[in-house]
Protein backbone atom coordinates (compact mmCIF):
# COMPACT_ATOMS: atom_id res chain seq x y z
CA UNK A 1 0.00 0.00 0.00
CA UNK A 2 2.58 2.59 1.07
CA UNK A 3 4.87 1.21 -1.63
CA UNK A 4 2.17 1.95 -4.19
CA UNK A 5 1.90 5.52 -2.91
CA UNK A 6 5.68 5.95 -2.93
CA UNK A 7 5.98 4.58 -6.48
CA UNK A 8 3.21 6.86 -7.71
CA UNK A 9 4.74 9.87 -5.97
CA UNK A 10 8.10 9.15 -7.62
CA UNK A 11 6.39 8.85 -10.99
CA UNK A 12 4.68 12.20 -10.44
CA UNK A 13 8.03 13.84 -9.64
CA UNK A 14 9.77 12.27 -12.62
CA UNK A 15 6.99 13.21 -15.05
CA UNK A 16 6.75 16.69 -13.59
CA UNK A 17 10.45 17.17 -14.29
CA UNK A 18 9.92 15.71 -17.75
CA UNK A 19 7.03 18.05 -18.41
CA UNK A 20 9.26 21.02 -17.48
CA UNK A 21 12.13 19.87 -19.67
CA UNK A 22 10.32 18.73 -22.81
CA UNK A 23 9.04 21.26 -25.29
CA UNK A 24 9.42 22.79 -28.72
CA UNK A 25 11.99 25.32 -27.53
CA UNK A 26 14.54 22.50 -27.22
CA UNK A 27 16.39 23.83 -24.20
CA UNK A 28 19.19 22.03 -22.38
CA UNK A 29 18.49 20.56 -18.95
CA UNK A 30 21.03 22.71 -17.11
CA UNK A 31 19.96 26.02 -18.61
CA UNK A 32 16.27 25.13 -18.18
CA UNK A 33 16.63 24.40 -14.48
CA UNK A 34 18.75 27.45 -13.80
CA UNK A 35 16.31 29.63 -15.75
CA UNK A 36 13.41 28.20 -13.79
CA UNK A 37 14.98 28.67 -10.37
CA UNK A 38 17.17 31.73 -10.80
CA UNK A 39 15.03 33.60 -13.28
CA UNK A 40 16.73 36.54 -14.96
CA UNK A 41 16.14 38.29 -18.24
CA UNK A 42 15.58 36.97 -21.71
CA UNK A 43 13.25 34.44 -23.25
CA UNK A 44 14.49 31.37 -21.37
CA UNK A 45 13.20 32.21 -17.87
CA UNK A 46 9.96 33.34 -19.46
CA UNK A 47 9.48 30.04 -21.29
CA UNK A 48 10.21 28.08 -18.13
CA UNK A 49 8.22 30.19 -15.68
CA UNK A 50 5.34 31.44 -17.80
CA UNK A 51 4.73 28.52 -20.16
CA UNK A 52 6.13 25.23 -18.95
CA UNK A 53 5.74 25.62 -15.19
CA UNK A 54 2.01 26.48 -15.26
CA UNK A 55 1.42 23.71 -17.77
CA UNK A 56 3.12 21.11 -15.57
CA UNK A 57 1.44 22.42 -12.42
CA UNK A 58 -1.99 22.34 -14.04
CA UNK A 59 -1.41 18.78 -15.27
CA UNK A 60 -0.64 17.71 -11.70
CA UNK A 61 -3.53 19.66 -10.18
CA UNK A 62 -6.17 18.62 -12.70
CA UNK A 63 -4.96 15.03 -12.94
CA UNK A 64 -4.99 14.70 -9.16
CA UNK A 65 -8.44 16.28 -9.01
CA UNK A 66 -9.90 13.94 -11.60
CA UNK A 67 -8.35 10.85 -9.99
CA UNK A 68 -9.43 11.86 -6.48
CA UNK A 69 -12.98 12.80 -7.38
CA UNK A 70 -13.37 9.71 -9.58
CA UNK A 71 -12.30 7.47 -6.70
CA UNK A 72 -14.59 9.34 -4.28
CA UNK A 73 -17.62 9.05 -6.55
CA UNK A 74 -16.97 5.39 -7.31
CA UNK A 75 -16.64 4.70 -3.60
CA UNK A 76 -19.73 6.69 -2.75
CA UNK A 77 -21.91 5.14 -5.44
CA UNK A 78 -20.29 1.73 -4.95
CA UNK A 79 -20.05 1.54 -8.69
CA UNK A 80 -16.82 1.23 -10.67
CA UNK A 81 -18.45 2.98 -13.63
CA UNK A 82 -18.94 6.27 -11.83
CA UNK A 83 -16.80 9.21 -12.94
CA UNK A 84 -16.52 12.90 -12.04
CA UNK A 85 -18.65 14.01 -15.00
CA UNK A 86 -21.57 12.06 -13.60
CA UNK A 87 -22.85 14.80 -11.33
CA UNK A 88 -23.19 17.27 -14.19
CA UNK A 89 -20.55 19.75 -13.04
CA UNK A 90 -18.17 19.39 -15.96
CA UNK A 91 -20.91 19.78 -18.55
CA UNK A 92 -22.37 22.83 -16.81
CA UNK A 93 -18.87 24.34 -16.51
CA UNK A 94 -18.40 23.66 -20.21
CA UNK A 95 -21.72 25.35 -20.95
CA UNK A 96 -20.60 28.44 -19.04
CA UNK A 97 -17.37 28.55 -21.02
CA UNK A 98 -19.14 27.97 -24.34
CA UNK A 99 -21.62 30.75 -23.66
CA UNK A 100 -18.75 33.11 -22.83
CA UNK A 101 -17.00 32.26 -26.12
CA UNK A 102 -20.20 32.60 -28.12
CA UNK A 103 -21.24 35.91 -26.61
CA UNK A 104 -17.76 37.36 -26.88
CA UNK A 105 -17.61 37.73 -23.08
CA UNK A 106 -14.50 35.56 -23.14
CA UNK A 107 -12.61 38.32 -24.94
CA UNK A 108 -13.61 41.06 -22.51
CA UNK A 109 -10.87 40.31 -20.01
CA UNK A 110 -8.20 37.66 -19.66
CA UNK A 111 -9.93 35.36 -17.20
CA UNK A 112 -13.48 35.84 -18.44
CA UNK A 113 -13.71 32.29 -19.78
CA UNK A 114 -12.65 30.42 -16.62
CA UNK A 115 -14.83 32.71 -14.53
CA UNK A 116 -17.83 32.00 -16.76
CA UNK A 117 -17.09 28.27 -16.52
CA UNK A 118 -16.89 28.47 -12.72
CA UNK A 119 -20.24 30.24 -12.63
CA UNK A 120 -21.66 27.49 -14.86
CA UNK A 121 -20.25 24.83 -12.52
CA UNK A 122 -21.74 26.58 -9.50
CA UNK A 123 -25.19 26.84 -11.08
CA UNK A 124 -24.93 23.22 -12.18
CA UNK A 125 -24.10 21.96 -8.70
CA UNK A 126 -26.86 24.03 -7.12
CA UNK A 127 -29.33 22.59 -9.59
CA UNK A 128 -28.11 19.03 -8.91
CA UNK A 129 -28.40 19.53 -5.15
CA UNK A 130 -31.88 21.01 -5.49
CA UNK A 131 -33.02 18.18 -7.74
CA UNK A 132 -31.48 15.48 -5.55
CA UNK A 133 -33.43 16.77 -2.58
CA UNK A 134 -32.64 16.37 1.05
CA UNK A 135 -31.74 13.01 2.53
CA UNK A 136 -28.81 10.84 1.61
CA UNK A 137 -29.97 8.59 -1.19
CA UNK A 138 -27.37 8.08 -3.91
CA UNK A 139 -29.87 7.14 -6.61
CA UNK A 140 -31.50 10.58 -6.67
CA UNK A 141 -28.03 12.11 -6.98
CA UNK A 142 -27.23 10.00 -10.04
CA UNK A 143 -30.53 10.85 -11.66
CA UNK A 144 -30.15 14.56 -10.91
CA UNK A 145 -26.59 14.48 -12.29
CA UNK A 146 -27.68 12.78 -15.49
CA UNK A 147 -30.52 15.28 -15.92
CA UNK A 148 -28.24 18.29 -15.44
CA UNK A 149 -25.55 16.79 -17.71
CA UNK A 150 -28.11 16.19 -20.43
CA UNK A 151 -29.55 19.69 -20.07
CA UNK A 152 -26.15 21.38 -20.16
CA UNK A 153 -25.06 19.19 -23.08
CA UNK A 154 -28.21 20.02 -25.01
CA UNK A 155 -27.74 23.73 -24.43
CA UNK A 156 -24.10 23.54 -25.51
CA UNK A 157 -25.19 21.83 -28.72
CA UNK A 158 -27.87 24.46 -29.18
CA UNK A 159 -25.27 27.21 -28.92
CA UNK A 160 -23.15 25.45 -31.54
CA UNK A 161 -26.21 24.85 -33.68
CA UNK A 162 -27.27 28.49 -33.70
CA UNK A 163 -23.79 29.93 -33.84
CA UNK A 164 -23.72 32.40 -36.74
CA UNK A 165 -19.98 32.73 -36.44
CA UNK A 166 -17.93 29.76 -37.71
CA UNK A 167 -14.83 30.98 -35.89
CA UNK A 168 -16.62 30.97 -32.54
CA UNK A 169 -18.02 27.51 -33.30
CA UNK A 170 -14.53 26.32 -34.16
CA UNK A 171 -13.11 27.81 -30.99
CA UNK A 172 -15.86 26.19 -28.93
CA UNK A 173 -15.25 22.76 -30.40
CA UNK A 174 -11.50 23.01 -29.84
CA UNK A 175 -11.94 24.35 -26.32
CA UNK A 176 -14.21 21.43 -25.43
CA UNK A 177 -11.52 18.93 -26.41
CA UNK A 178 -9.48 19.99 -23.40
CA UNK A 179 -5.94 21.28 -23.43
CA UNK A 180 -3.19 22.63 -21.20
CA UNK A 181 -1.40 24.55 -23.93
CA UNK A 182 -0.80 28.28 -23.48
CA UNK A 183 -2.04 28.43 -19.90
CA UNK A 184 -0.45 30.91 -17.53
CA UNK A 185 0.25 31.08 -13.82
CA UNK A 186 -2.95 33.13 -13.58
CA UNK A 187 -4.88 30.01 -14.56
CA UNK A 188 -3.05 28.14 -11.80
CA UNK A 189 -3.99 30.79 -9.27
CA UNK A 190 -7.64 30.91 -10.29
CA UNK A 191 -8.02 27.12 -10.09
CA UNK A 192 -5.92 26.45 -7.01
CA UNK A 193 -8.21 27.81 -4.25
CA UNK A 194 -11.20 25.83 -5.50
CA UNK A 195 -9.15 22.71 -6.00
CA UNK A 196 -7.50 22.98 -2.59
CA UNK A 197 -10.92 23.29 -0.98
CA UNK A 198 -12.17 20.31 -2.97
CA UNK A 199 -9.13 18.20 -2.03
CA UNK A 200 -9.70 19.03 1.64
CA UNK A 201 -13.37 18.07 1.40
CA UNK A 202 -12.75 14.84 -0.50
CA UNK A 203 -9.83 14.00 1.77
CA UNK A 204 -12.21 13.61 4.71
CA UNK A 205 -14.47 10.95 3.23
CA UNK A 206 -12.12 7.94 3.21
CA UNK A 207 -13.52 6.30 6.31
CA UNK A 208 -17.13 6.87 5.39
CA UNK A 209 -16.46 5.31 2.00
CA UNK A 210 -14.93 2.32 3.79
CA UNK A 211 -18.07 1.93 5.88
CA UNK A 212 -20.22 2.24 2.75
CA UNK A 213 -18.63 -0.96 1.47
CA UNK A 214 -21.17 -2.66 3.72
CA UNK A 215 -24.13 -0.76 2.30
CA UNK A 216 -25.89 2.45 3.24
CA UNK A 217 -27.80 0.99 6.20
CA UNK A 218 -24.75 -0.55 7.84
CA UNK A 219 -22.73 2.62 7.24
CA UNK A 220 -25.46 4.79 8.78
CA UNK A 221 -25.51 2.53 11.84
CA UNK A 222 -21.72 2.91 12.10
CA UNK A 223 -22.14 6.64 12.51
CA UNK A 224 -21.82 7.82 8.90
CA UNK A 225 -24.18 10.69 8.16
CA UNK A 226 -25.30 9.88 4.63
CA UNK A 227 -26.77 13.33 3.82
CA UNK A 228 -23.57 15.01 5.00
CA UNK A 229 -21.38 12.57 3.09
CA UNK A 230 -23.33 13.17 -0.11
CA UNK A 231 -23.05 16.93 0.29
CA UNK A 232 -19.29 16.76 0.93
CA UNK A 233 -18.74 14.52 -2.10
CA UNK A 234 -20.86 16.69 -4.40
CA UNK A 235 -19.28 19.96 -3.25
CA UNK A 236 -15.75 18.53 -3.29
CA UNK A 237 -16.20 17.10 -6.78
CA UNK A 238 -17.82 20.30 -7.98
CA UNK A 239 -14.88 22.37 -6.69
CA UNK A 240 -12.16 20.28 -8.29
CA UNK A 241 -13.93 19.39 -11.52
CA UNK A 242 -15.47 22.82 -12.00
CA UNK A 243 -12.09 24.53 -11.56
CA UNK A 244 -10.37 21.93 -13.76
CA UNK A 245 -12.88 22.29 -16.58
CA UNK A 246 -12.75 26.06 -16.26
CA UNK A 247 -9.02 26.24 -16.97
CA UNK A 248 -8.47 23.24 -19.22
CA UNK A 249 -11.76 22.20 -20.80
CA UNK A 250 -13.27 18.75 -20.58
CA UNK A 251 -10.74 15.99 -20.00
CA UNK A 252 -12.39 12.62 -19.89
CA UNK A 253 -11.54 9.09 -18.84
CA UNK A 254 -8.91 9.99 -16.21
CA UNK A 255 -11.40 9.89 -13.35
CA UNK A 256 -12.89 6.67 -14.65
CA UNK A 257 -9.81 4.66 -15.54
CA UNK A 258 -7.31 5.63 -12.85
CA UNK A 259 -9.30 4.34 -9.84
CA UNK A 260 -9.98 1.19 -11.84
CA UNK A 261 -6.31 0.49 -12.48
CA UNK A 262 -5.22 1.25 -8.93
CA UNK A 263 -8.02 -0.49 -7.05
CA UNK A 264 -6.40 -3.95 -6.96
CA UNK A 265 -3.09 -2.40 -5.88
CA UNK A 266 -4.53 -0.89 -2.68
CA UNK A 267 -6.54 -3.94 -1.64
CA UNK A 268 -9.74 -2.41 -3.06
CA UNK A 269 -10.25 -0.29 0.07
CA UNK A 270 -12.14 2.79 -1.17
CA UNK A 271 -10.51 5.06 1.41
CA UNK A 272 -6.96 4.07 0.50
CA UNK A 273 -7.87 4.40 -3.15
CA UNK A 274 -8.50 8.15 -2.77
CA UNK A 275 -4.91 9.40 -2.49
CA UNK A 276 -3.52 6.66 -4.70
CA UNK A 277 -5.96 7.77 -7.40
CA UNK A 278 -5.02 11.41 -6.91
CA UNK A 279 -1.37 10.55 -7.58
CA UNK A 280 -2.35 8.18 -10.38
CA UNK A 281 -4.45 10.88 -12.02
CA UNK A 282 -1.51 13.28 -11.89
CA UNK A 283 0.72 10.61 -13.46
CA UNK A 284 -1.73 9.93 -16.24
CA UNK A 285 -2.35 13.57 -17.11
CA UNK A 286 1.35 14.55 -16.95
CA UNK A 287 2.19 11.62 -19.22
CA UNK A 288 -0.64 12.45 -21.62
CA UNK A 289 0.35 16.11 -21.73
CA UNK A 290 3.96 15.17 -22.50
CA UNK A 291 2.69 12.82 -25.17
CA UNK A 292 0.61 15.48 -26.97
CA UNK A 293 3.78 17.58 -27.21
CA UNK A 294 5.88 14.71 -28.55
CA UNK A 295 3.51 12.76 -30.82
CA UNK A 296 2.33 15.54 -33.12
CA UNK A 297 4.16 18.64 -31.92
CA UNK A 298 3.15 20.76 -34.90
CA UNK A 299 -0.53 19.76 -34.97
CA UNK A 300 -1.68 20.83 -31.48
CA UNK A 301 -3.15 17.46 -30.52
CA UNK A 302 -5.70 18.10 -27.76
CA UNK A 303 -5.18 16.56 -24.33
CA UNK A 304 -8.78 15.42 -23.91
CA UNK A 305 -8.60 13.61 -27.22
CA UNK A 306 -5.48 11.76 -26.16
CA UNK A 307 -6.79 10.75 -22.72
CA UNK A 308 -9.92 9.36 -24.38
CA UNK A 309 -7.84 7.59 -27.04
CA UNK A 310 -5.66 5.98 -24.38
CA UNK A 311 -8.41 5.63 -21.79
CA UNK A 312 -10.99 3.83 -23.87
CA UNK A 313 -8.79 0.85 -24.83
CA UNK A 314 -7.53 0.64 -21.23
CA UNK A 315 -11.12 0.53 -20.14
CA UNK A 316 -11.96 -2.18 -22.65
CA UNK A 317 -9.03 -4.18 -21.35
CA UNK A 318 -10.38 -3.82 -17.80
CA UNK A 319 -13.83 -4.95 -18.88
CA UNK A 320 -12.24 -7.96 -20.55
CA UNK A 321 -10.35 -8.80 -17.36
CA UNK A 322 -13.51 -8.30 -15.32
CA UNK A 323 -15.35 -10.72 -17.59
CA UNK A 324 -12.66 -13.33 -17.15
CA UNK A 325 -12.96 -12.88 -13.40
CA UNK A 326 -9.37 -11.71 -12.89
CA UNK A 327 -10.42 -8.54 -11.14
Amino acid sequence: MSRVIAALALAVLALFAGSLLIGPAGLGIGESVSALILGGDGPLPMVMRQIRLPRALLAVMIGASLGLSGAALQGYLRNPLAEPGLIGVSSSAALGAVLSIQTGFAAVFALALPVAALIGALLGVLLVLALAGRGGASLTLILAGIAVSALAGAMTTLVLNLSPNPFAANEIVFWMMGSLADRSMTHVWIALPFMALGWLLLGTVGRSLGALTLGEDAAAAMGVSLPRLRLVIVLGTACVVGAGTAVAGAIGFVGLVVPHILRPLVGAHPGRLLWASALGGAVMLLAADIAVRMVLPERDLKLGVLTALVGAPLFLHLIYKLRKGDL
Binding site: R78, R207, G210, A211, L212, T213, L214, G215, D217, A218, A220, A221, M222, G223, V224, S225, R263, P264, G267, A268, H269, P270, L327
Partner: protein, 258 residues
Amino acid sequence: MSLMSVSNLSVRLRNRQIFSDVSFDIGAGEVVGLIGPNGAGKTTLMRAALGLIEHGGTSSLAQLGAGPRAKAVSWMPQSREIAWPVSVETLVMLGRLPHLDPYSRPTAQDHARVDEAIGWMELEGMRHRTATRLSGGEQARVLIARVLAQGTPLLMADEPIAGLDPANQIATMETFARLAALGKSVLVSLHDLGLAARHCTRVLMLGQGGLVADGPAEKVLTPERLAEIFHITAWYQNTDQGPVYQPLDVIGRGPRSG
Protein backbone atom coordinates in the same frame (compact mmCIF):
# COMPACT_ATOMS: atom_id res chain seq x y z
CA MET B 1 -28.85 -2.52 33.07
CA SER B 2 -30.94 -1.72 30.04
CA LEU B 3 -29.06 -1.82 26.74
CA MET B 4 -32.02 -0.66 24.72
CA SER B 5 -35.53 0.40 25.46
CA VAL B 6 -38.36 1.17 23.07
CA SER B 7 -41.78 2.36 24.11
CA ASN B 8 -44.89 2.80 22.01
CA LEU B 9 -42.80 2.46 18.87
CA SER B 10 -44.82 2.75 15.69
CA VAL B 11 -43.96 3.06 12.02
CA ARG B 12 -46.05 4.15 9.08
CA LEU B 13 -44.57 3.63 5.65
CA ARG B 14 -46.41 5.06 2.62
CA ASN B 15 -49.61 5.45 4.60
CA ARG B 16 -49.54 1.88 5.80
CA GLN B 17 -49.26 1.24 9.52
CA ILE B 18 -46.58 -1.45 9.80
CA PHE B 19 -46.89 -1.81 13.56
CA SER B 20 -47.75 0.31 16.54
CA ASP B 21 -47.43 0.34 20.32
CA VAL B 22 -44.34 -1.84 20.46
CA SER B 23 -42.58 -1.60 23.81
CA PHE B 24 -39.79 -3.73 25.20
CA ASP B 25 -36.47 -3.48 27.01
CA ILE B 26 -33.36 -5.53 26.48
CA GLY B 27 -31.05 -5.92 29.46
CA ALA B 28 -27.57 -7.41 29.69
CA GLY B 29 -26.90 -11.05 28.87
CA GLU B 30 -29.88 -11.77 26.66
CA VAL B 31 -30.24 -13.46 23.29
CA VAL B 32 -33.55 -12.13 22.05
CA GLY B 33 -35.10 -13.73 19.00
CA LEU B 34 -37.41 -11.59 16.91
CA ILE B 35 -39.89 -13.77 15.04
CA GLY B 36 -42.87 -13.09 12.87
CA PRO B 37 -44.20 -13.99 9.45
CA ASN B 38 -42.96 -12.28 6.28
CA GLY B 39 -44.09 -8.69 6.18
CA ALA B 40 -44.77 -8.47 9.90
CA GLY B 41 -42.19 -5.69 10.16
CA LYS B 42 -39.18 -7.33 11.81
CA THR B 43 -36.66 -5.40 9.74
CA THR B 44 -38.66 -2.19 10.07
CA LEU B 45 -38.83 -2.63 13.83
CA MET B 46 -35.06 -2.99 14.11
CA ARG B 47 -34.36 -0.06 11.79
CA ALA B 48 -36.81 2.13 13.68
CA ALA B 49 -35.30 1.13 17.01
CA LEU B 50 -31.89 2.14 15.61
CA GLY B 51 -33.32 5.46 14.45
CA LEU B 52 -32.57 4.77 10.78
CA ILE B 53 -36.16 5.50 9.73
CA GLU B 54 -38.86 7.83 10.97
CA HIS B 55 -40.99 6.42 13.75
CA GLY B 56 -43.44 7.31 16.44
CA GLY B 57 -42.80 6.60 20.11
CA THR B 58 -39.33 6.55 21.61
CA SER B 59 -36.27 4.39 21.28
CA SER B 60 -33.27 4.85 23.54
CA LEU B 61 -30.86 3.99 20.71
CA ALA B 62 -32.44 6.43 18.27
CA GLN B 63 -32.02 9.20 20.82
CA LEU B 64 -28.25 8.72 20.92
CA GLY B 65 -26.16 10.69 18.44
CA ALA B 66 -24.77 8.78 15.48
CA GLY B 67 -21.33 8.45 17.07
CA PRO B 68 -22.37 7.20 20.54
CA ARG B 69 -24.95 4.91 18.94
CA ALA B 70 -22.25 3.21 16.88
CA LYS B 71 -20.50 2.36 20.14
CA ALA B 72 -23.73 1.19 21.80
CA VAL B 73 -25.11 -1.05 19.11
CA SER B 74 -23.86 -2.76 15.98
CA TRP B 75 -26.20 -3.53 13.12
CA MET B 76 -26.05 -6.26 10.53
CA PRO B 77 -28.62 -5.54 7.81
CA GLN B 78 -30.33 -8.31 5.94
CA SER B 79 -28.83 -7.37 2.59
CA ARG B 80 -25.33 -8.76 2.70
CA GLU B 81 -23.56 -6.10 0.79
CA ILE B 82 -19.85 -6.23 0.07
CA ALA B 83 -19.26 -3.58 -2.56
CA TRP B 84 -15.52 -3.99 -3.19
CA PRO B 85 -13.20 -6.99 -3.41
CA VAL B 86 -11.49 -6.35 -0.08
CA SER B 87 -9.84 -9.06 2.00
CA VAL B 88 -11.78 -10.72 4.83
CA GLU B 89 -9.48 -9.10 7.37
CA THR B 90 -10.03 -5.62 5.90
CA LEU B 91 -13.77 -6.17 5.93
CA VAL B 92 -13.84 -7.26 9.56
CA MET B 93 -11.66 -4.25 10.43
CA LEU B 94 -14.43 -1.98 9.11
CA GLY B 95 -16.28 -2.86 12.30
CA ARG B 96 -13.65 -0.91 14.22
CA LEU B 97 -14.35 2.35 12.37
CA PRO B 98 -16.56 3.87 15.11
CA HIS B 99 -13.71 3.40 17.60
CA LEU B 100 -10.88 4.95 15.60
CA ASP B 101 -9.73 8.47 16.28
CA PRO B 102 -9.80 10.72 13.25
CA TYR B 103 -6.87 10.14 10.89
CA SER B 104 -5.25 7.47 13.02
CA ARG B 105 -4.40 3.92 12.17
CA PRO B 106 -6.00 0.95 13.96
CA THR B 107 -4.31 0.29 17.30
CA ALA B 108 -3.15 -3.03 18.71
CA GLN B 109 -6.49 -3.24 20.51
CA ASP B 110 -8.37 -2.89 17.23
CA HIS B 111 -6.30 -5.67 15.71
CA ALA B 112 -6.93 -7.82 18.78
CA ARG B 113 -10.70 -7.34 18.43
CA VAL B 114 -10.53 -8.24 14.75
CA ASP B 115 -8.50 -11.38 15.53
CA GLU B 116 -11.02 -12.30 18.22
CA ALA B 117 -13.98 -11.87 15.86
CA ILE B 118 -12.24 -13.88 13.15
CA GLY B 119 -11.55 -16.61 15.69
CA TRP B 120 -15.14 -16.66 16.91
CA MET B 121 -16.54 -17.07 13.42
CA GLU B 122 -13.76 -19.59 12.54
CA LEU B 123 -12.55 -17.56 9.59
CA GLU B 124 -8.83 -17.89 10.25
CA GLY B 125 -8.33 -19.96 7.09
CA MET B 126 -9.87 -17.32 4.84
CA ARG B 127 -8.48 -14.22 6.52
CA HIS B 128 -6.57 -13.09 3.44
CA ARG B 129 -9.05 -14.21 0.83
CA THR B 130 -11.14 -11.76 -1.15
CA ALA B 131 -14.50 -11.38 0.56
CA THR B 132 -16.50 -10.98 -2.66
CA ARG B 133 -15.27 -14.35 -3.93
CA LEU B 134 -16.53 -16.31 -0.93
CA SER B 135 -19.78 -18.26 -1.00
CA GLY B 136 -22.94 -16.61 0.27
CA GLY B 137 -22.79 -18.47 3.57
CA GLU B 138 -19.13 -17.62 4.06
CA GLN B 139 -19.86 -13.96 3.32
CA ALA B 140 -22.59 -14.01 5.97
CA ARG B 141 -20.09 -15.32 8.53
CA VAL B 142 -17.57 -12.64 7.56
CA LEU B 143 -20.24 -9.97 8.00
CA ILE B 144 -21.18 -11.39 11.40
CA ALA B 145 -17.49 -11.19 12.33
CA ARG B 146 -17.51 -7.52 11.26
CA VAL B 147 -20.42 -6.87 13.62
CA LEU B 148 -18.66 -8.75 16.42
CA ALA B 149 -15.51 -6.70 15.87
CA GLN B 150 -17.48 -3.54 16.51
CA GLY B 151 -17.52 -4.77 20.11
CA THR B 152 -20.72 -3.05 21.19
CA PRO B 153 -22.76 -4.09 24.25
CA LEU B 154 -25.73 -4.76 21.98
CA LEU B 155 -25.76 -6.46 18.62
CA MET B 156 -28.69 -6.32 16.24
CA ALA B 157 -28.74 -8.71 13.31
CA ASP B 158 -31.41 -9.14 10.66
CA GLU B 159 -31.65 -12.78 9.67
CA PRO B 160 -27.93 -13.42 10.07
CA ILE B 161 -28.27 -17.19 9.81
CA ALA B 162 -30.42 -17.32 6.67
CA GLY B 163 -28.52 -19.29 4.06
CA LEU B 164 -26.00 -20.84 6.44
CA ASP B 165 -25.54 -24.61 6.67
CA PRO B 166 -26.89 -26.27 9.83
CA ALA B 167 -23.51 -26.44 11.55
CA ASN B 168 -22.86 -22.75 10.95
CA GLN B 169 -26.40 -21.81 11.97
CA ILE B 170 -25.94 -23.55 15.29
CA ALA B 171 -22.39 -22.23 15.70
CA THR B 172 -23.59 -18.66 15.08
CA MET B 173 -26.38 -18.97 17.62
CA GLU B 174 -23.87 -20.40 20.09
CA THR B 175 -21.58 -17.44 19.42
CA PHE B 176 -24.47 -15.17 20.36
CA ALA B 177 -24.95 -17.21 23.54
CA ARG B 178 -21.24 -16.78 24.35
CA LEU B 179 -21.63 -13.02 23.92
CA ALA B 180 -24.59 -13.11 26.29
CA ALA B 181 -22.49 -15.01 28.81
CA LEU B 182 -20.05 -12.08 28.64
CA GLY B 183 -22.87 -9.69 29.56
CA LYS B 184 -23.60 -8.51 26.03
CA SER B 185 -26.96 -8.88 24.36
CA VAL B 186 -28.17 -9.81 20.92
CA LEU B 187 -31.41 -9.00 19.13
CA VAL B 188 -31.68 -11.32 16.19
CA SER B 189 -34.51 -11.81 13.74
CA LEU B 190 -34.91 -15.31 12.40
CA HIS B 191 -37.37 -17.62 10.74
CA ASP B 192 -36.16 -20.90 12.19
CA LEU B 193 -38.47 -21.30 15.18
CA GLY B 194 -36.57 -24.41 16.25
CA LEU B 195 -33.30 -22.50 16.59
CA ALA B 196 -35.15 -19.65 18.28
CA ALA B 197 -36.63 -22.03 20.83
CA ARG B 198 -33.28 -23.68 21.50
CA HIS B 199 -30.90 -20.74 21.55
CA CYS B 200 -32.81 -17.61 22.48
CA THR B 201 -33.28 -16.71 26.12
CA ARG B 202 -36.32 -14.74 25.09
CA VAL B 203 -38.53 -14.42 22.03
CA LEU B 204 -40.42 -11.43 20.68
CA MET B 205 -43.27 -12.36 18.38
CA LEU B 206 -44.33 -9.68 15.93
CA GLY B 207 -47.56 -9.89 13.96
CA GLN B 208 -50.94 -8.31 13.32
CA GLY B 209 -49.51 -4.84 13.55
CA GLY B 210 -47.92 -5.13 16.93
CA LEU B 211 -45.98 -7.14 19.47
CA VAL B 212 -47.98 -10.30 20.09
CA ALA B 213 -45.87 -11.88 22.77
CA ASP B 214 -42.64 -11.36 24.69
CA GLY B 215 -41.09 -13.99 26.90
CA PRO B 216 -39.30 -17.34 27.02
CA ALA B 217 -39.82 -19.46 23.90
CA GLU B 218 -42.05 -22.06 25.56
CA LYS B 219 -44.39 -19.31 26.76
CA VAL B 220 -44.45 -17.45 23.45
CA LEU B 221 -44.71 -20.32 20.99
CA THR B 222 -48.11 -21.58 22.07
CA PRO B 223 -50.25 -23.57 19.62
CA GLU B 224 -52.86 -20.78 19.58
CA ARG B 225 -50.38 -18.06 18.61
CA LEU B 226 -48.70 -20.25 16.03
CA ALA B 227 -52.08 -20.93 14.46
CA GLU B 228 -53.14 -17.31 14.56
CA ILE B 229 -49.91 -15.59 13.54
CA PHE B 230 -47.96 -18.18 11.56
CA HIS B 231 -50.82 -20.45 10.46
CA ILE B 232 -48.91 -23.57 11.38
CA THR B 233 -49.03 -26.38 13.86
CA ALA B 234 -45.91 -27.54 15.63
CA TRP B 235 -44.52 -30.16 17.94
CA TYR B 236 -42.74 -28.92 21.02
CA GLN B 237 -41.10 -30.82 23.81
CA ASN B 238 -38.58 -30.07 26.49
CA THR B 239 -36.37 -33.14 26.05
CA ASP B 240 -33.32 -34.10 28.07
CA GLN B 241 -31.31 -32.67 25.14
CA GLY B 242 -32.95 -29.30 25.51
CA PRO B 243 -36.08 -27.89 23.96
CA VAL B 244 -36.98 -29.38 20.57
CA TYR B 245 -39.36 -27.56 18.36
CA GLN B 246 -40.56 -28.77 14.99
CA PRO B 247 -43.12 -26.98 12.81
CA LEU B 248 -45.46 -29.54 11.27
CA ASP B 249 -48.31 -28.40 9.02
CA VAL B 250 -49.81 -25.31 7.46
CA ILE B 251 -53.30 -24.51 8.64
CA GLY B 252 -55.50 -23.64 5.61
CA ARG B 253 -53.72 -20.49 4.40
CA GLY B 254 -56.00 -17.63 5.26
CA PRO B 255 -55.27 -13.95 4.69
CA ARG B 256 -51.98 -13.22 6.37
CA SER B 257 -50.93 -10.21 8.28
CA GLY B 258 -48.55 -8.96 5.66
